[in-house]
């Protein structure tokens, strides 16, 4: 080929230098890292709001912040964490970095669109931060009408505009992944030889492109109603507030699966690699991703059981919500079956994977409680719901994100990370998380409503436990930030395949060269085929 030898020896980090070479890069690996920087910043901003809320809830009266400020805190915590951390977290960072390499491609199908998506994401983030700095939003992350369109005096339009803009970055990422996975797999890499990470990315990309435009148009309608004071959703102006909730949850329920499907995708990789066994029931796990994506579009009404929708709709949505448990359970059972007779190693990513499986199971089963109409009426808008979705989003998605970051860290940075410290952090996160959110299940069941700055004194013990847990959790999140920044420069160099994993990404050097592969790989074995790769991986 034309490429000179010294170019192939340079890796993607050193290939070009200077700030501009990063800001104008179309390399999927560099864009993945740009996203890491952005979402890490948003994660700690969103975390700051959570910290303030937990501090306020240490004592029964609303003494640290006023109830109005508290309304803004939980709204902005939700908005930042959902749209500017969780939604892009795994797809835009690890997905961007790994997907092309896993399928033996040199880049995503549309590298410029990929870069554009990062700029749109940051533009949306800046507009939202502007809304926050001007005084924030107090509608909750759900923007329910007519509060958001008529009565709120806060910066609703700016916040909605930020989310609207960043929504297009999600759409572009999803579009890019679908086109890439369809069109750019290397020779021999058939659909059923794809790593399960790719199946998960594909399923979540489908949700990205199908659900996100509906959020965009819904927010646009909210803006139209608020700006021109014409009734679309406000009943006082002749609109229908339930229509807003239907449209919002048509996006926002599938969005939960945008957050958790990529997490499951990571866990499938981790479970196989650190058990050194193919994932049990490969096809079932692959199709369960598509199953979750599909069923996820049919259950939004379970957010509206007490909203006044028809009882017959509620019955149907309740039944359909139960169905989500089937593909979810398929995954959990098949991961645990993968451990059976596996050669298990307890490296940090595996700790996160096992943590994910346990916490996701608790989050999932309490989700079934909430899908049951009778019980849901009792615990609607209580801390039970808060605990449930944090088990899925923080216990699930964030654990898997951290597991994935550690797993691919040697590939990303070309260096290892300090294993002992990382294990300590994983343990801290796990303990801190449970101490934060398990008491909230009890609080909710006892009747503590969400979104209140003050509460009766009998709830204080549980709230203090929760705040204590949140402090531990905070330490658990700051630790990896510190040691990974240290490891970027000073940790020992990583070999190309430190975990002896089977994915094509491990066939590249660490860190990979600019174009990933000098020669397009050819695949003649299935996913996780440790037997076929025995010699190559140096397995006994």
């Amino acid at each position: 080929m034309i490429a000179a030898p010294e170019i192939t020896e340079r890796n993607y980090l050193t290939g070009k230098e200077g700030v501009l070479s990063w800001l104008l890069t179309t390399d999927h690996k560099r864009i993945g890292l740009l996203y890491v920087a952005s979402i890490t910043a948003f994660f700690f901003i969103g975390g700051l709001f959570a910290l303030l809320m937990r501090l306020e809830l240490l004592t029964p009266p609303s003494d640290l912040v006023s109830p109005e400020t508290y309304n803004k805190l939980f709204s902005m915590h939700g908005i930042i964490m959902v749209w500017f951390f969780l939604i892009p977290s795994i797809p835009a960072t690890l997905g961007n970095f790994v997907v092309p390499m896993m399928i033996g491609a040199r880049d995503l199908a549309f590298p410029k669109l990929n870069l554009a998506s990062w700029y749109l994401f940051n533009l949306g983030g800046i507009v939202t931060l502007y809304a926050i700095l001007r005084g924030g939003v107090d509608t909750g992350w759900t923007f329910y009408t007519p509060l958001s369109t008529t009565y709120s005096t806060t910066y609703v339009i700016a916040a909605a505009a930020g989310i609207f803009i960043s929504g297009f970055s999600s759409i572009l990422t999803g579009l890019n992944f679908i086109a890439t996975i369809h069109g750019m797999r290397c020779p021999g890499l058939t659909w059923f030889r794809l790593p399960l990470f790719i199946w998960g990315m594909y399923a979540s990309s489908l949700i990205f492109v199908i659900a996100t435009p509906v959020l965009a148009i819904t927010l646009l309608m909210v803006a139209v109603e608020r700006i021109f004071q014409v009734g679309i959703f406000d009943p006082a102006l002749g609109g229908d507030p339930l229509l807003f909730q239907h449209m919002f949850w048509f996006y926002s329920h599938p969005a939960v699966y945008i957050m958790v499907l990529p997490a499951m995708a990571v866990v499938s990789e981790l479970v196989s690699t650190f058990s050194r066994r193919p994932v049990f029931g490969y096809k079932a796990v692959a199709f369960s991703s598509l199953g979750i994506a599909l069923v996820g579009f049919l259950v939004w009404g379970h957010h509206m059981f007490v909203s006044g929708q028809s009882i017959y709709s509620a019955l149907a949505f309740s039944l359909l919500s139960y169905l989500v448990a089937i593909p979810s359970a398929i995954k959990v059972f098949n991961w645990t079956a993968t451990f059976y007779k596996g050669s298990i190693s307890w490296d940090t990513p595996m700790l996160y994977a096992i943590g994910f499986i346990g916490l996701f199971t608790i989050g999932g089963i309490t989700g079934l409680f909430l899908a049951a109409l009778g019980l849901d009426v009792h615990v609607t808008d209580t801390y039970f719901v808060v605990a449930h979705f944090h088990y899925i989003m923080v216990g699930g998605a964030v654990m898997a994100y951290l597991g994935g970051i550690h797993y691919w860290w040697p590939k990303i940075s070309g260096r290892m990370y300090p294993e002992g410290l990382a294990k300590l952090a994983a343990l801290t996160v796990f303990l801190g998380f449970n101490l934060t959110f398990f008491p909230q299940f009890i609080l909710g069941y006892l009747g503590m409503p969400r979104r209140y700055a003050a509460y009766p004194p009998e709830f204080q013990v549980l709230h203090v436990l929760s705040t204590a847990g949140a402090s531990i959790l905070g330490v658990g999140y700051v630790l990896p930030l510190c040691y990974l920044i240290w490891a970027w420069r000073y940790a020992p160099k990583a070999p190309p395949n430190p975990w002896r994993a089977t994915g094509l990404e491990w066939k590249t050097p660490s860190p990979p060269s600019v174009h990933n592969f000098d020669e397009t790989p050819v695949v003649n074995y299935g996913a996780y085929d440790y037997e076929a790769l025995k010699g190559e991986l140096g397995l006994g």
């Binding site: 034309i2 491609a105 040199r106 880049d107 995503l108 199908a109 549309f110 590298p111 759409i171 579009l175 890019n176 679908i178 086109a179 890439t180 369809h182 069109g183 750019m184 492109v209 199908i210 659900a211 996100t212 435009p213 509906v214 965009a216 148009i217 819904t218 646009l220 309608m221 139209v224 700006i227 021109f228 004071q229 014409v230 009734g231 679309i232 102006l237 002749g238 609109g239 229908d240 229509l243 449209m247 174009h515 397009t520």
Partner: protein, 226 residues
């Protein structure tokens, strides 16, 4: 630079596809797939508005019919015919580009742009008439018809949906102008022309949306014309 070093037959073949694709065919297919996926997102976006329209039309059937009677059916029908004609010229332009007939492709692109502008002009005249007749919600909306709330809801969706459509038309005209310049600069050939074909898909989609908009805004009151 690689371009200078291979001075013998630098070859369109060698640069007929971008670096990260294996073949030109792969690039073409992937680009087509990308546009189709994008159109799915567009369907979902317009779909949200169509769904909301359906909800309110079911709630105010009489008001939607009588509000629709005040639409200028002649301008609407003419505009529909005009836009379908532009789809025809666009399809011919894509066909011409595929066969490497760049001169006809250029003229057909120019014709499509021109027809698109005429469409927007007529649309603007209609908007002005609504505004003058106090039919623009948020700008002194008035009506004497029964169920004024329903009437206003009709106009909210009329402006929102045809407005979103007009934005898509403007974007489309911008894309066509870019294609025109690229054709003029000799960027396209028998081997490489997928931007024209892909923009054609987009243009066709925007046209189809209009056909539905015409049906739901101009026709519901047709039986009331007497």
């Amino acid at each position: 630079m690689a371009d200078n070093s291979s001075d013998v037959l630098p070859g369109r073949e060698a640069r007929a596809h971008l670096d990260h694709f294996a073949t030109a065919e792969q690039q073409r297919n992937t680009a087509m797939a990308g546009m189709w996926i994008f159109l799915v997102t567009e369907i979902m976006m317009f779909g949200g508005l169509f769904m909301a329209y359906a909800v309110y039309r079911l709630g105010h059937p009489q008001a939607f019919a009588s509000a629709s009677r005040d639409m200028n059916i002649v301008l609407g029908a003419v505009n529909t015919a005009i836009l379908i004609t532009s789809s025809f010229t666009m399809a011919l332009a894509a066909q011409a580009a595929e066969e490497g007939l760049l001169r006809p492709a250029k003229w057909l692109l120019a014709a499509t742009i021109l027809i698109g502008i005429v469409f927007l002009g007529i649309k603007f005249v209609e908007y002005y008439q609504h505004y003058r007749d106090h039919k623009a919600p948020g700008f002194g909306f008035q009506t004497n018809l029964p169920d004024p709330g329903g009437i206003q809801m009709f106009y909210i969706f009329y402006f929102a949906m045809t407005g979103l459509h007009a934005v898509h038309m403007i974007v489309g005209i911008g894309l066509l102008a870019a294609l025109l310049i690229m054709t003029e600069l000799g960027r396209f050939s028998r081997e490489y022309h997928s931007p024209v074909v892909i923009t054609g898909l987009y243009w066709g989609f925007v046209d189809i949306v209009w056909v539905f908009l015409f049906a739901i805004f101009y026709l519901p009151g047709l039986h009331l014309h007497g």
